[in-house]
Every structure is written in C-alpha cells, then in structure tokens.
C-alpha cells in the first residue's frame, strides 16, 4: 500500500484545515492546544487534518499515509513518527479517524482510540470541530500520562528561549558565577 502512495515525504503542519471548517479564532485555539500538548510531551506530536477525501480514500488510509510519509515540522527538536498521532476528519463523509505510530500502540490501543472518538461524536455531529479536536487532544494526553514519568522541563530539554539561559548573565549573576568566570580568565575583575 505504501508503494501505491509513492516514497515522497509529505510536509505537514500541526493543523491542516483543507476543508476550511474552522474559523480563525477556532484555529488559533486548536493550534494552542496542540502546542501545549507538544510542550508537555516532548517525545510526541499530534497532527490534525480536516478535508474532504476523494471516494477512493478513507480516513484510515489517509492517517496511515500521513504517519508513514508525513514530515512533521518540529520546532525545537526532532520527533519520531513512531510517536506521532494523527486525527483525520472528513466533514462530508462524516467520519473521523485516529491513528498512532508503533511506539504508542500499547498505550493507545484501538479500543482506547475508539472510546476517545465516541466521546466526541456529538460535537462532531453538531459541527463543533474545535471543541471536539481539543477534547481528543486532552483525552490522548490523559491516557498517555498514566504510564509516563514526570520530569522538569529544564532537566530534560534544552532551553527553548534565550531568556531561559540568559537569566543568570554576567551583569546580573551571583558572585560565585562571577568568580568562576574570573578564574577562567573570561572576565576582568
């Protein structure tokens, strides 16, 4: 099946609203939820696709394609596609599909994914896509958290912004830091 789709990588964003189902502020809310998810789960990322699929393609196939051929944009560090989660919504066919990579199959088996999707059936039926997508993100986060290890961000990840490592600069650093810098010959007393 992969051969049928070719070997080219498909560049994707976190949120791809091909069907234009979301308003601007709704898209911002969904984007914010996805960013928040990526910040708290540095190994994972979740992508959402909204579009009308051709008759020859269903949501499962598209999700399979995106996970195996998708080149997801990572802001700070690369993330494996095995740790990816894709949510595909077809507003015309009124179907939703949720698929995960190999690394998450044990934490998010098909029955758990089905239970997550069944919770958002009513909002999707009412065309409330943004709340439904956010609910899916939160449900996935809650499920994944159960077996995960809690850690502080600064112990695990590199600084995301210059302010994080410039907070103890030479002009405002402690005396111990300044003494260390002087001993190393980097600062003049």
């Amino acid at each position: 099946m992969m051969a049928a789709f070719g070997l080219d990588l498909i560049p994707l964003r976190r949120l791809w609203d091909e069907a234009h189902c979301l308003r601007v502020h709704e898209a911002k809310e969904v984007e914010k939820a996805l960013v928040n998810f990526e910040e708290h789960y540095p190994q994972l990322f979740l992508a959402v696709y909204l579009g009308v699929l051709p008759p020859t393609l269903n949501v499962n196939e598209l999700a399979f394609l995106l996970l195996n051929r998708g080149m997801f944009w990572a802001e700070h560090h690369p993330r494996l596609n095995e740790h990816a989660i894709v949510l595909v919504l077809d507003p015309e066919a009124r179907t939703a599909g949720l698929m995960v990579g190999y690394a998450l199959e044990q934490r998010l088996p098909p029955r758990v994914l089905e239970r997550i999707l069944r919770r958002v059936r009513t909002p999707l039926w009412h065309a409330e896509y943004a709340p439904a997508i956010i609910d899916v993100v939160e449900a996935v986060a809650r499920t994944v958290r159960k077996g995960a290890r809690r850690a502080l961000r600064r112990d695990v990840l590199p600084p995301a912004a210059p302010e994080e490592f410039l907070g103890g600069s030479a002009s405002s650093g402690s005396e111990a830091d300044q003494a260390d810098q002087v001993s190393r010959g980097r600062l003049q007393p």
Binding site: M1, M2, A3, E39, H40, Y41, P42, Q43, L44, N58, V59, N60, A63, F64, L67, N68, L80, N81, E82, H83, A84, R94, T95, A96, G97, L98, M99, V100, G101, Y102, A103, E105, R107, L108, P109, P110, R111, L113, E114, I116, L117, R118, R121, T122, L124, W125, V144, R145, G147, A148, R149, R150, A151, L152, R153, R154, V156, L157
Partner: protein, 369 residues
C-alpha cells in the same frame, strides 16, 4: 269770553299744566325711558339678602374686592385653604387630621358594695356579677356552661365580672367570695373585666398550683386570653374565654390528676380539744410572663458587640482559605507549566505491518451523523 275765564276753569287749566310739567321732568330723568329702578340707600350697604346659597357662618365682610387688595397690606391675611373649603363643604370630610390619642382612663377599684355582694352570693353561684354588667341571657349562658363544667370536671371555674375600667382592689380576700365556696377544693376564679380579656386574672387554689407546673398554668392562661381576643365583641370574648378555660381545665386534670380534690370520706366532727386546722387553700394568681422587650430600633453597637467576633473570625477564615487556595493554584500552574511527561525509550522493535515503517495501521474510526 266770560264762560272761558271763570275761576274754576282757571284752576283746571293750572292743574293740567302742573301735571304736564311734572311728567316732562320725570321723562328727562329716565335714560332709557323704561321702568324706574329702586334707589339704594347708603345705609343699606353690607346687608345681603339670605338666599340659601351662602353658608351659615359666612361673613360678608371677608369679601374684599380684588382692586382693593394691595400686596404690602399686612392686614390682608391669606385664608387657610382648608378653612376656605370648610365654609362650603361638610366638616366630616376633613377628619383626616390626626388627633392626639386620648389618654387611657385610670382603672377604678370595684366598689366595696359590689365586692360585699359577691362575698354574700350563694355558694353555687358561678357567675359573680354584682354590678349587673352582663345581660340576663349572657349570664344564663355562662352559668349553664360553668355548671356543666362543674358537673364533669374536678377543677371548678367561677367568674367575677368587672367593668372594663375596673380592677380588683389590692388587698382583696378572694377566698370569701361566693360565701367562701370559691376556695373550697380545686377551683379556678377568673376576675374578668368585660371587654378587656388581656387584663383578666386567673386565680387557682393551692392544690392546683402545687400539682401543676407554673409554666403549664401560664400557658393555660395565655391560651384563654389569646382565644378571647380573636373577636371584638366583649360578650363573645367572655364566652370564648370561658369555653377555652373549661377545655384547658379538663386537659389539666388529664395531665396532672393530682389537681382533683381528694374525695371526702367519713367526715367526723372535729374534737373540741383539738381545733380543726384551717385547710382552706389559698388562691394564687397565675401570671403570664410579658412578651420579651421588642427591639424596635436596631442597635449597631449591640449587634457589633454580639456578632462582631463571629463575623470577624469567619471573614478571617475565608481570607485564609482564599489565600491558600490561590497560592496552591499558582504553584500547581507553575509546576504544571514546568512539567513534562516522558515515555520509555522506544527500542524500534516492531513488526512492520502493511509496509509502514512508522505506523502499522493501529487506529480507530467512528462515523458521526
């Protein structure tokens, strides 16, 4: 010529001339030539004929022509508006003036003659009305009720009826009423001012007051007063009071059987050596405690003194709880923002399914709508 110049003829001619002159003068004085108007005399001014349209106390001198009124005239005083209306409308329409309440008349003691008559009344008299305040029919009704009560109850009831403005003298010996039968056995005497049930006084014999608690007797008296004041008619008040008293006395017997008089067995005449001890029970009054003093005005000082500690401690507790909650929420939010969740490292050992290097089709689909 001789016939036309006779003296008679001359006199006739002169008379005719005089009449003609007078008529000519009168005609010159009438401007329109119609009937003559009466001539008003100066002394007749100010006397207006009574036509029935003027009020009885109308003073024509009060009528002042507007042209004669000057603004700076201190003598011209504006009439009170209401007084001006009073001259044309009945005074009963202006009775909305708040008259000061009449002071309550002082209570007068019942006359000694009436009291003596009550004392000399036969022993079986239930309604002592020496002054004839009640009518015959009302007295008969009340007597019938009290006789029926006496036949079936252990505690008898008697009424001493007073006028609404009368009271019992302070040092009255009630045990002598009705030839002393009032204080025999278990009895209840009600000194009832007709029309003032709130001032009715209940007296019970000692055996009753000792057998029943004071609170119960107070509630009995209060219930009788409460039932009586529900109607404005004085006679009906008395009837309701007596009915309620009868019911309550029955209940009293049932609740406290000791109030019943002990049966008299084998009454032996007292021996002359040992004088018979005076066992005449004394009548004691059942007083109803007055209502608690109502606080008509809210006193901030009192409220502050009583409730301020509780309010202050409650408010401080709320502040502490709110502060702790806010601090906890902030700490949790800060901790959550700095927390990441890490999954175990993936060893990449997985069977490739459907040719997918990263995903094997593990997912779910749902159809909505």
């Amino acid at each position: 010529m001789r016939r036309f110049t006779s003296p008679a003829m001359v006199r006739i001619l002169l008379g005719l001339a005089a009449v003609q002159v007078a008529g000519t003068r009168a005609a010159s004085e009438r401007p329109d030539g119609g009937l003559a108007l009466p001539q008003w005399e100066e002394s007749a001014t100010g006397v207006l004929p009574s036509s029935g349209l003027w009020p009885d106390d109308f003073n024509p001198n009060l009528i002042i022509h507007p042209a004669m009124v000057s603004q700076g005239d201190a003598a011209v005083q504006a009439e009170d508006e209401e007084d001006s209306w009073l001259r044309f409308l009945p005074r009963s329409l202006f009775s909305n003036r708040k008259t000061p309440p009449a002071p309550e008349p002082a209570l007068a003691d019942i006359s000694p003659e009436a009291l003596r008559a009550s004392e000399n009344a036969p022993g079986d008299t239930r309604v002592l009305d020496p002054q004839g305040i009640l009518g015959e029919a009302q007295t008969e009704d009340l007597t019938r009720l009290l006789f029926f009560h006496a036949e079936n109850a252990g505690v008898e009831a008697r009424f001493l009826v007073l006028d609404s403005g009368q009271q019992l003298p302070p040092a009255t010996d009630l045990s002598r009423l009705a030839s002393g039968e009032v204080a025999r056995g278990s009895a209840c005497l009600v000194v009832y001012p007709l029309g003032a049930p709130q001032r009715a006084r209940l007296f019970l014999t000692r055996n009753v007051t000792q057998a029943a608690p004071a609170a119960y007797l107070e509630s009995l008296a209060a219930a009788c007063r409460r039932d009586a004041v529900e109607t404005p008619d004085p006679v009906e008040q008395l009837q309701r009071f007596a009915t309620q008293l009868s019911i309550r006395l029955f209940w009293l017997e049932r609740a406290y059987p000791a109030v019943k008089p002990e049966p008299v067995l084998n009454v032996l005449p007292p021996s002359p050596e040992t004088p018979e001890p005076s066992s005449v029970p004394v009548l004691s009054e059942v007083t109803v405690p007055g209502p608690p003093p109502s606080r008509d005005r809210f006193s901030l000082e009192t409220f502050g003194r009583e409730w301020l500690p509780y309010v202050g401690s409650g408010f401080a507790g709320l502040l502490v709880v709110a502060g702790v909650s806010i601090m906890f929420i902030r700490w949790r939010r800060r901790r959550h923002s700095q927390t990441v969740w890490l999954l175990p490292d993936y060893d990449h050992r997985h069977p490739v399914r459907f040719g997918g290097p990263h995903c094997g089709g593990c997912g779910a689909t749902v159809k909505y709508g």
